[in-house]
Symmetry: C2
Subunit: 452 residues, 2 copies
């Protein structure tokens, strides 16, 4: 069965809906009320919650339920699943932890749920839930003042860890970065990463798939579908080296960790998966891959208004050895000389200096595009000098469909604002040059994968 009715439900029951602010069953209800779905709170003790008529049980609702969000503690989950199955609820999200991750007893409880659920599909247990900004489906049990929601965008984000997901979405919201969807896998009792990847492979809104995994449900199946999907739609994955803590602690001392990690590295390369090492990198790479034109070659032009950062970028690119700082012809350099300040440098890095104004970025980009001597642009701006205006992102963004451009904006509050502006224009921008360089390399790597 497709996951369509889970991700885009027309009717949602909140089992364990609560009238008490701050309770999971209240947060979830308030969030799903904002969707276009019909919403049914289930609580035997309340006549009405959050202005909605309350039901004693899902069995009392006379309509077909596409999704039941089960906001009950672990010991009550099985009963709820039974009731949902009896009226053929299509999907259930089980929020509660306290299952397989806590030992044998929890494993047995999960098996019972599987036996009981019938045709119903289950996400979780132990999941943060799902969030689809496009249709306002938000079952996340963290209140928005604790975890801001990212807006609608082009990245599908699948995570086995709720905490990683929550922090990353909170960060995405800060920088104004959008996602097409978030799915928290939790314990993967039923629905797993492979099905989700298939779903987003076919989702028009999704341009890149980012996955945080601690274990594979079916490693072979994972590799096979990634191999097929990744040339068309980039897939970025964090594979946290180990699943059980005990195993991990042991492997840290025996060195078996490094070995198995290399296996994962090799497998990812074979199936075209871009590997991220840390949580921030997962999303950093994902959005560059979602928005940026694939570079045709390795030649980078570095543009900036802060010499020190130009040098930093140069150092980073050359030391990694994946891309290279383009050599500009004398002709291009003399063209550049005409449009920049007398004391600016037109060697690559092109340092427009702290006295740069927006127009110099525009003219420089014109000349570089025309020259055909560069394959991609690393565009840095320090918003502190007064010469650049808030229109710079627009000026630069216009070139993003002609050459791959990655931007970085260094500094404090204003830098964050400018990153948000670049994001709006679909240009991936980062708060420091290190991430910008890494992501440009990843974009090149993906382009290279799709060529070979």
């Amino acid at each position: 069965m497709s996951l369509e009715q889970l991700f885009n439900p027309k009717s949602i029951a909140v089992v364990g809906a609560s009238a008490k602010k701050g309770k999971v069953g209240n947060i979830v209800l308030r969030q799903v009320k904002e969707s276009r779905a019909e919403v049914y709170p289930i609580n035997p003790k309340e006549p009405k919650i959050e202005g909605l008529k309350c039901y004693r049980s899902v069995t009392e609702i006379e309509k077909q339920i596409d999704l039941a969000v089960i906001s009950l503690p672990a010991p009550l989950v099985l009963g709820a699943i039974k009731e949902c199955a009896s009226v053929e609820v299509r999907n259930a999200i089980v929020i509660a932890g306290g299952f397989k991750e806590t030992g044998e007893r929890g494993k047995r409880a999960e098996k019972q749920i599987l036996k009981t659920k019938g045709k119903m599909r289950i996400l979780g247990p132990n999941t943060l839930g799902i969030y689809f900004p496009g249709n306002k489906i938000d079952t996340l049990f963290l209140p928005p003042d604790r975890m801001q929601r990212p807006k609608e965008g082009k990245i599908a984000f699948i995570s086995q860890s709720g905490a990683i997901a929550a922090t990353l979405m909170d960060r995405l919201a800060l920088y104004g970065i959008g996602i097409s969807a978030f799915v928290g896998l939790g314990n993967k009792l039923d629905i797993n990463e492979n099905e989700c990847i298939d779903y987003f492979a076919n989702d028009q809104k999704t341009k890149a798939i980012c996955v945080y995994l601690e274990s594979f449900k079916d490693a072979k199946g994972f590799g096979e579908r990634c191999k097929k999907i990744s040339p068309k739609k980039p897939i970025v994955v964090i594979k946290a080296g180990r699943t059980e803590r005990g195993k991990r602690a042991a492997s840290l001392h025996t060195g078996s960790l490094a070995g198995s990690d290399q296996v994962v590295d090799g497998a990812f390369k074979q199936c075209g998966v871009i590997r991220a090492k840390t949580p921030n990198e997962l999303i950093d790479l994902g959005r560059a891959l979602a928005y940026t034109l694939p570079p045709k070659g390795r030649r980078v032009a570095i543009i900036g208004n802060a010499g020190g950062f130009c040098v930093t970028c140069c150092d980073l690119i050359e030391s990694h050895g994946i891309l290279r700082v383009a050599n500009l012809s004398s002709r291009t350099k003399s063209e550049l000389k005409k449009v920049v300040l007398p004391f600016a440098s037109v060697e690559n890095p092109i340092d427009l200096t702290a006295s740069a104004v927006d127009r110099m970025y525009k003219d420089t980009l014109d000349i570089l595009v025309e020259s055909k001597e560069v394959d991609c642009i690393l565009c840095g701006t320090s918003p502190q000098p007064p010469g650049l205006t808030e229109k710079l992102p627009e000026v630069v963004g216009r070139y993003a469909d002609r050459l791959p451009i990655i931007a970085y904006l260094v500094g404090g509050r204003e830098a964050i604002e400018r990153i948000r502006s670049f994001e709006k224009l679909g240009v991936a921008a980062y708060p420091e040059p290190e991430s910008a360089v890494k992501t440009l390399e990843a974009v090149w790597q993906w382009a290279e994968n799709t060529r070979t």
Copy 2:
């Protein structure tokens, strides 16, 4: 002559003061007006600027001038220097660029200034200026709405690049990180990094010295003083590999860069200098070194409320091979078991889980301090789950004088706020685990240097 009267002037003349908002000569005047010094605007055309009586020339002021900030374009600087020298102004800051960095003519202009200046000391030309939050001396020509000012703190920051300095100070302000002083070296016509390092070595407020350099004025002298100073006061340096752009561009292709860079690496190690690779790292390392107790050994305890980040830290520490994740005894683990949630992990990393509350951090830290099984703490928090309160930094901060603690806070706006809270308590905190791990390693490295 000591730099005391430059850095703590009792009287300041702003040569080229302007009545026009947004002009350098206006911004500087408005900033220095906030200091306790007597301030004299110099402009032959205006009777009064910003409410202060205006002078036609420094020669008209009857008092001794400790500092003249020369806010004039390059061609007018020599004249101003002459006048200042004639009335024995003690120090001058020359803001204008357009000297040695632009070629032969600029070099000659600098030589003329040197000949003319007499006993007067000169900072610059081509400098962002100085900023001493303690005595409110701020000659920076960037308006505060473009570049926020960091508050008073313990890091002295010396930079040859104005742009790097501006972006970093803007970032420091965002995270609520303080500095004792900033000095922009610019072209180093007279005052250089060595004198400044000597000054801050003796400055009680300064606990760590951070330096961004593109060239050494006197490499031997630099090494000698660092060797003497660094065991008592940590020195962190970025040495941007190359001085002239042309030389750099060439060296990128001949490989001479890597060679000379290794020389710098070796020299820094010999004189106990901690080397930073990127601008953010400079300050990241500097503040950890300024605040954090020196670890006695390599054993790290990782505490967190997000499993995925605990694993990330574990991966980072073990893969770098500088520190190691401490093995906790069964006794300590069973003590921990008593204070954490049943499903929390007390293996190291200690994952308190998303259901953690402040008290669990406190109890865990109590037990770890008591155990003597760890030398330092990497303390992560994801502020998204509702269990932790805004008091957590205070709870954790109380242990910072018993064990070295580095914190990281992941997420969006609230994470930034919590970083600010940790900062207030003198605990270095970072927006992602990568920086936290790197800085903990640097702190250990410095402690190790001072031992041997």
